[in-house]
C-alpha cells in the first residue's frame, strides 16, 4: 500500500511510542492534528493491507518463562515434506527453513518449560525419517533487531 507522510508519522508513533492512556487514538490524533476517527481509519487500512501484522504487545518469551531452542535435523530430500509436516505440527515450532547443509532443516521451538521443550524434541526425534537432531538453545543473545525502517 502507498503510505503518505501522515501515515508514516502515524506508523512511527504506533510502533515506538504507543500511548498507554484510556483513549490512545484520540491522543495520537491530537499529536498529528487529525481526528480520532481518522487515526482509527488509517490504522485499519494498514492492518487490512497486511503492513501491520498486529497491534498489541510484543513479548519477551524468556521473561514469560518460556524456553526456546534452535534445532536442526538431517533428512533425505525425498522425505522433506513428511518430516516438515511432523515438525510443523507443533504450535511451539514458529519458524522452519530448509538450508544448504547436511543439517538441512532448521527450526525454532518455544515451550512453556524446559521439560515441555524436551518432550517436543523427543517426539520429533522419534520419527523414523529423522536421522539426527541437534538442539541449540541460545546461551547469549547479542542482538535481536527491532526494525523501524518502514516508518
Amino acid at each position: 500500500m502507498e503510505l503518505d507522510s501522515l501515515d508514516r508519522k502515524l506508523l512511527k508513533i504506533i510502533q515506538a511510542d504507543f500511548p498507554l492512556v484510556p483513549e490512545p487514538y484520540r491522543a495520537i490524533g491530537e499529536a498529528l492534528e487529525i481526528t480520532e476517527d481518522e487515526v482509527i481509519a488509517r490504522i485499519k487500512n494498514m492492518v487490512d493491507s497486511g503492513l501491520i501484522r498486529r497491534l498489541g504487545g510484543i513479548f519477551d518469551s524468556r521473561r514469560l518463562g518460556y524456553r526456546g531452542a534452535l534445532c536442526a535435523v538431517k533428512t533425505d530430500s525425498d522425505s522433506i515434506s513428511q518430516v516438515a509436516a511432523v515438525v510443523n505440527s507443533f504450535s511451539g515450532v514458529t519458524h522452519n527453513y530448509l538450508r544448504e547443509h547436511d543439517y538441512n532443516m532448521w527450526f525454532t521451538i518455544l515451550a512453556e518449560s524446559e521439560e515441555k521443550l524436551e518432550e517436543i524434541v523427543s517426539e520429533i526425534n522419534k520419527h523414523p525419517l529423522i536421522q539426527e537432531i541437534i538442539v541449540l538453545p541460545a546461551e547469549k543473545i547479542f542482538k535481536i533487531k527491532v526494525n523501524f525502517d518502514l516508518a
Binding site: I14, Q15, F18, E23, I43, V47, I52, L55, H101, I134
Partner: protein
C-alpha cells in the same frame, strides 16, 4: 511469577488491540478488570521486560531482501563474548546469538544476514570475518521457508 489473570491479559493482547475509542476498556471488561488496572498492568509488564514493546508490529523487514544466510562461526570460547558483541554491531546483522557446540557441530556463534543477492551475503560475511579476524565460518542459505508464525503464549 505470572498470575492466571496475567496470562489472560497476555492472551488478549496477542489478539490485537481493538480499533475503538476505548480499546483497553473493551479488554478490561472481558477480564473483569478496570480500564486503569489493565493499563497499569501493561505498564508493569513493560517495566518488567515481559513486554518488549507495545504497539504495532509491522510485517517482517526482509521484504525485498530475497536472500538470507545464517552465518555460523567457530570462535574460541574465550573470545566468544567479545566477538559476538562485535558482530552484533554490524548493521547487516539482524540476529546474533551464542549457542552450544555439539558432536558434529563445531560452530558457536550465529549471525543472520540479509541481502539482495547471494553475493551480497557472502560479501557481508567476508567483511565481518575481516573485522573480527575469525576465519572459520560457513554460510547456510535458506532455500525454502516451511513455516513462519507468531507464537501464541499460554494457549
Amino acid at each position: 511469577m505470572l498470575t492466571e489473570q496475567d496470562k489472560q491479559i497476555i492472551r488478549e493482547l496477542q489478539n490485537g488491540l481493538p480499533l475503538v475509542s476505548r480499546p483497553f476498556k473493551v479488554i478490561a471488561g472481558k477480564l473483569n478488570m478496570t480500564e486503569e488496572g489493565l493499563i497499569e498492568r501493561i505498564r508493569s509488564f513493560i517495566a518488567g521486560g515481559q513486554i518488549r514493546r507495545f504497539g504495532a508490529a509491522v510485517r517482517h523487514q526482509d521484504l525485498g531482501y530475497l536472500y538470507n544466510a545464517m552465518v555460523v562461526w567457530d570462535v574460541s570460547d574465550e573470545k566468544a563474548t567479545e566477538t559476538g558483541l562485535m558482530m552484533a554491531d554490524f548493521e547487516e546483522v539482524t540476529h546474533c546469538y551464542q549457542r552450544p557446540r555439539c558432536l558434529g557441530w563445531p560452530y558457536n556463534l550465529f549471525t543472520m544476514v540479509h541481502g539482495l543477492s547471494r553475493e551480497e551475503c557472502v560479501r557481508i560475511a567476508e567483511k565481518i570475518s575481516k573485522a573480527t579476524g575469525e576465519k572459520n565460518y560457513k554460510l547456510l542459505f535458506s532455500t525454502a521457508e516451511l513455516k513462519k508464525s507468531s507464537m501464541r503464549y499460554f494457549e
